[in-house]
C-alpha cells in the first residue's frame, strides 16, 4: 500500500526497509518527514488537529504519486500522512522515494511534498493561547508547487 492516511505514528526506518525489500536495482532512497512545530505565525501551538476527506484524500495522494512516477524514473514510493490530534514534535507526514539514482529520488520526493501541500485535502487546526484557529493556506506553498508545472507547449 504506497499511500496511507492514519492516526497512528509511523516508523520511518521500518517504512524505508519495507520499501527497499532488498531490491538490488535501488541505488538511492530519499525521504522527507514533516513534524509539528511549537510555533506558527508568531503564536505558540500547544496542539493541532488534522482533518481530511476520507476517500478523496487517498485518491489525491495516489494521483500525486502517479504523476511523480510519470515524470521520473523511480522504482517505488511510500506516503504516510497522519490525521487527528497531534502535538509539537509529533511526526505528521512521511514521503519515501526509491530510485536508481539520487537525482530522481530527491526531485520526486520534493515534488510529492509540494503537490501534497497544495492538492491533497487535509486541513490543520491549531490550539494557541489565543484560542483555536484554522491554518491559512500559504502563497509560498502555491509558488513551490507551481515550479513543477511543465512549460506550456503553446508559450514560445
Amino acid at each position: 500500500m504506497p499511500v496511507r492516511v492514519q492516526t497512528e505514528d509511523f516508523d520511518a526506518g521500518a517504512e524505508i526497509a519495507a520499501l527497499r525489500r532488498g531490491d538490488p536495482k535501488i541505488g538511492a532512497v530519499a525521504s522527507f518527514i514533516g513534524v509539528v512545530r511549537d510555533l506558527n505565525d508568531g503564536e505558540s501551538v500547544g496542539k493541532m488537529t488534522l482533518e481530511h476527506y476520507p476517500g478523496m484524500t487517498e485518491k489525491a495522494l495516489e494521483a500525486i504519486v502517479s504523476e511523480a512516477r510519470s515524470r521520473w524514473d523511480i522504482i517505488d514510493v511510500t506516503v504516510v500522512h497522519r490525521v487527528g490530534e497531534l502535538k509539537p514534535t509529533d511526526q505528521i507526514v512521511l514521503v519515501v522515494v526509491a530510485g536508481g539514482h539520487r537525482g530522481e529520488a530527491f526531485a520526486a520526493c520534493e515534488f510529492i511534498m509540494d503537490y501534497l501541500k497544495t492538492r491533497a485535502p487535509f486541513w490543520k487546526k491549531e490550539e494557541t493561547p489565543g484560542g483555536e484557529r484554522w491554518v491559512e493556506a500559504r502563497a509560498s506553498d502555491d509558488d513551490a508547487a507551481e515550479r513543477w508545472t511543465p512549460p506550456r507547449a503553446d508559450v514560445a
Binding site: 500522512h81 485535502p121 486541513w123
Partner: protein
C-alpha cells in the same frame, strides 16, 4: 438517493455552516459548480457569508477537484472546503 445531490463540507466551512453533509434536490437550471454555490449562498446568513464571492473556496465533484464550470448532476457528491493545509 440517486435523484439527490450529496453535499459535504470540511474544516472551517463545516464549522461556519454548522453541518458536515446534506442531501439536496437539485432545482432546474442549476447545472454547474458556480450555479450551485450561488444557490447555497442565496440561503443567506452563514451560507451567504461563507460562500460569498471572493472567499477562497475549493470544490470537488465526486472527489475530483472541480472548476466553477464543472457540471453537477443528480447523484453527484459535491464537497466544499477551504484551500488545503496538510503536510
Amino acid at each position: 438517493m440517486s435523484g439527490n445531490l450529496k453535499l459535504v463540507f470540511f474544516a472551517r466551512l463545516r464549522e461556519d455552516l454548522g453541518t458536515n453533509a446534506e442531501e439536496l434536490a437539485l432545482p432546474p437550471g442549476v447545472g454547474t459548480v458556480a450555479a450551485l454555490r450561488t444557490l447555497l449562498a442565496s440561503r443567506g446568513g452563514s451560507w451567504a457569508a461563507a460562500l460569498a464571492q471572493g472567499r477562497a473556496i475549493r470544490v470537488a465533484v465526486n472527489q475530483e477537484m472541480a472548476q466553477p464550470t464543472t457540471p453537477v448532476k443528480p447523484g453527484d457528491e459535491v464537497a466544499f472546503f477551504p484551500p488545503v493545509t496538510g503536510g
